[in-house]
């Protein structure tokens, strides 16, 4: 029977290579897979495109990736209060694609759901319409927004079963759930692993089809 549990964070991020596109869940610290963030920093990769809501603040969050200079581009909505990112951004060492948060998450969902894009009313008449196709529907103007996909998605769950079904803890669900749908390899860091059948089938948030690797922060 399928069992996606791996023994350590390094195994969970194995295969992540130079130039990969990597989604990282979390809104602030909630939903941030800290073990994976550290494990990737230790890989010695370069030139990552990072898709995440924030750019870290300080300490062992995504700041670590900027301090290690492994990110060449970030796609996010709110890279503020991010000392390390800011320094590199101002030095022109890292590219920023700023995306309104709802558009960011919807682009990820579109990637995961096999859509070629969607029409959003958000950003019309603002600087965010630059470079985007405008499409009018029923007299209202929309921007054509493109899907986002990734090589890896790294997220934080609460409980996973051995098959890879995942639940989240309160607001830590945020971008994590949708990111699991949009990457070739999806690794979930959880507090606890249980046997298949122990999660309520109605309360599973991420069905196991989306999950390739599960790592329990503390041993199961």
């Amino acid at each position: 029977m399928r069992n996606v549990v791996v023994e350590n964070a390094a195994d969970a991020v194995k295969g992540l290579r130079d130039g990969h596109v990597v989604m990282v869940g979390g809104f602030g610290g909630a939903g941030l897979p800290r073990s994976f963030v550290r494990a990737v920093a230790e890989l010695g990769v370069r030139g990552l495109t990072l898709i995440s809501n924030n750019a870290g603040t300080e300490g062992d969050d995504l700041s670590l990736w900027f301090r290690s200079r492994i990110v060449s581009k970030i796609v996010c909505s709110y890279p503020r209060s991010a000392k390390d990112f800011t320094a590199q951004y101002r030095a022109g060492e890292v590219e920023l694609e700023l995306v309104p948060q709802g558009t960011l998450v919807e682009r990820i969902r579109a990637g995961g759901a096999g859509l070629g894009g969607f029409l959003s009313p958000v950003g019309v008449g603002t600087v965010f319409e630059q470079g985007k196709q405008k499409i009018e529907v029923d007299g209202r103007t929309y921007l054509l927004e493109m899907p986002l996909k990734a090589d890896f998605a790294l997220v934080k769950g609460k409980v996973a079963d051995t098959l890879g079904n995942v639940t989240y803890n309160m607001t830590a669900r945020n971008h994590c759930a949708v990111m699991t749908t949009a990457a070739d390899t999806v690794a979930v860091e959880v507090d606890r692993v249980v046997e298949a059948g122990e999660l309520d089938p109605e309360a599973v948030v991420t069905p196991c089809i989306f999950v390739n690797r599960v790592f329990a922060r503390t041993s199961s």
Binding site: A82, Y89, L98, T171
Partner: protein, 227 residues
């Protein structure tokens, strides 16, 4: 002319929210509106990082860093609350399911254009937009709360916004330290003023023409609005 302090402004906004409405309080000043809300009002607060029915701040020492609001401050969940992912949360916002979003602003124009995400100045930080645009476009009503003028005394209610826009023609009502201003199809209408203020006082601090509503109300210095 001394206007309302931030806390009194928050009390004023809280008192005006429709009963049993679904409300999103933006980051910053609007967050304080929660402190003045009548629990009997039945207002249900949304937080864009995935909460419906946000409760008050937790007791000292009881913060849970997986239970935070859009400003990344610890909150609680009220009875009957729920959690969901960002994709559903922004679907609620963009899809017009939020009755009122209360947002801070740098500038609001006479036709309801909103500038609240970018000061246009280089502050030594990269730009950040967060969920501001989604709220501004999606909520059924956009209310703005802000100081009537900038620290330098310049109007924030203007004929045309000079700062990068958040969204066009979205603001329906502006609560300032001096007045409540309704954005109508034919211009700005003052529906309430701080006790002792005259229209010319407010107009002098406003960058677009104002007129008085037929039925004017008075804002008390504590932020209460008398009919």
């Amino acid at each position: 002319m001394k206007g309302l302090e931030r806390q009194q402004l928050a009390r004023m906004v809280a008192s005006q929210l429709p009963r049993e409405s679904f409300v999103n309080l933006g980051i910053g000043a609007p967050t304080h509106v929660a402190d003045y809300m009548d629990p009997e009002s039945g207002v249900i607060l949304h937080s864009e990082n995935g909460i419906l029915n946000v409760g008050p701040a937790p007791a000292l020492g009881e913060a849970n860093f997986d239970l935070i609001n859009a400003g990344k401050s610890p909150v609680t969940l009220a009875r009957g609350g729920s959690f969901f992912d960002s994709s559903m949360s922004f679907a609620m916002m963009r899809g017009g399911h939020i009755d009122v979003a209360v947002l801070g602003a740098f500038e609001v124009s006479q036709n309801g254009d909103l500038a609240n995400w970018n000061t246009g100045r280089d502050e030594g930080e990269p730009p950040g937009v967060g969920g501001a645009m989604d709220l501004a476009v999606g909520a059924k009503q956009i209310w703005v709360m802000m100081e009537h003028v900038t620290r330098e005394g310049a109007p924030r209610i203007v004929a045309e916004c000079t700062l990068p826009l958040t969204a066009k023609r979205v603001v329906s009502r502006v609560f300032t330290s001096l007045a409540i201003v309704e954005v109508m199809p034919d211009g700005l209408v003052v529906s309430a003023m701080l006790r002792g203020a005259r229209l010319e006082d407010v107009q002098a601090r406003t960058g677009a023409p104002l007129r008085l509503a037929p039925h004017m109300r008075t804002i008390e210095p504590d932020g209460k609005v008398a009919e």
